[in-house]
């Protein structure tokens, strides 16, 4: 099978972490946050991690929406910490959103990109990041004040600290191997129910 060539600038080591352990290890206390999860893998695993908590708004479509939903939410709720978890494909679809978000610089927003380098839901085609595009460098170039890459368990403690303590607008690239996300099969992603339960829990 013909394959696309990796970029000659691709220098990151091969991913070694399994997302099924790495995502819960990075986000220790999901109840501390208002959360938005991008479609497919991250929506399923965040749903499992939070036991379908209403403080999670999970997307089943609208690819590319998660980071900007996070921005609108973070600006509206400056006293709450907002966490966006999304995949590399979802983030790449609206990568300009990183520039828009950095200009606003909301200190209560953290974006975690669970980067498996592939489009896991559509036949596991390699994504741009799998071929060497660096989302962490893009985030830095956009002006994110805090950027951290988790390649191995050795990088995890600093990632955990950043998620826990929140020292300003943060981008964390969590690099994981190909493979399934945790999926407990119960999540109800009926769109208007997602909205209603999130708002009811937050706003009463």
């Amino acid at each position: 099978m013909a394959k696309l060539n990796k970029l000659q600038t691709a220098t990151l080591p091969d991913a070694v972490l399994d997302r099924r352990q790495a995502v819960p290890a990075l986000i220790e206390n999901p109840n501390d946050f208002l959360m938005v999860a991008g479609l497919a893998g991250t929506a399923w695993e965040m749903s499992a991690l939070t036991h379908e908590s209403p403080n999670l708004f999970g997307l089943g479509g609208a690819m590319g929406a998660a980071p900007m939903i996070g921005l609108g939410l973070a600006l509206a709720q400056p006293k709450r910490r907002v966490l966006v978890a999304t995949g590399d494909g979802e983030l790449l679809m609206n990568v300009g959103a990183l520039a828009t978000i950095a200009l606003q610089n909301p200190p209560n927003l953290t974006i975690i990109c669970v980067d498996n380098g592939h489009y896991g839901e559509t036949g596991n085609q390699e994504s741009h990041t799998g071929l060497g595009v660096r989302l962490d460098v893009i985030a830095s170039g956009c002006g994110f004040p805090v950027v951290h890459v988790v390649n191995t368990t050795a990088d995890m403690e600093e990632g955990r600290r950043l998620v826990r303590e929140g020292g300003g607008l943060t981008f964390i690239l969590l690099r994981v191997k190909e493979g399934p996300a945790t999926h407990d099969g119960k999540k109800n992603l009926v769109p208007h129910i997602e909205r209603d339960r999130f708002r009811a829990a937050l706003l009463g």
Partner: protein
């Protein structure tokens, strides 16, 4: 009694209307037709003025603002409508309130042929995605149209676009 709205005064009255109705997030891709709204939002310390790289970002941001209990408005040119289409699935499916003000090109008196395909497609594409379209043709239409749209969007959770038509804002001269 309020002074009559004119071609010169409607943009400022429109900004005041949005603020009086609790809009605190203004997101936009710049356009001459929205210059006053953009400048006013930048000068207003009580609102977030958010320049976008593409209009679909704004659709998602409106959703996030609603989840957090704030009101947002998306300002864009007619060409930007084409960039929002799939993202309107989010708004329609979740019943997010959406208010967008669209400054029109590619219609009444347009002198740039590149503007026509998307300008003429604005209404059918928005309607195909379930967005209600109101048109402001004259200065005196603006406040009633946007007042109606505010109620339809934020109270009835509809998706509403008010077209600030080229007849209203004037065709750009080249």
């Amino acid at each position: 009694m309020a002074e009559a709205i004119t071609r010169e005064t409607w943009p400022a009255a429109l900004y005041d209307l949005l603020r009086q109705n609790g809009v605190t997030q203004f997101c936009y891709v710049p356009d001459a037709g929205h210059k006053v709204l953009i400048d006013r939002s930048l000068a207003d310390t009580d609102v977030h003025s958010v320049p976008l790289t593409t209009e679909e970002e704004g659709v998602a941001m409106l959703a996030g603002a609603d989840l957090g209990g704030q009101r947002a408005v998306l300002l864009m040119q007619s060409s930007g409508v084409g960039n929002t289409i799939n993202m309107l699935s989010l708004t329609a499916g979740c019943h997010f309130p959406m208010l967008t003000l669209v400054s029109m090109r590619g219609e009444f008196g347009e002198g740039n042929p590149w503007q026509f395909p998307m300008g003429q497609a604005v209404e059918p594409t928005l309607k195909a995605m379930g967005v209600i379209v109101l048109r402001a043709e004259q200065p005196e239409d603006v406040i009633p149209c946007v007042t109606a749209a505010i109620t339809m969007a934020y109270q009835s959770c509809q998706q509403v676009a008010v077209l600030l038509t080229q007849r209203l804002i004037g065709a750009k001269k080249f």
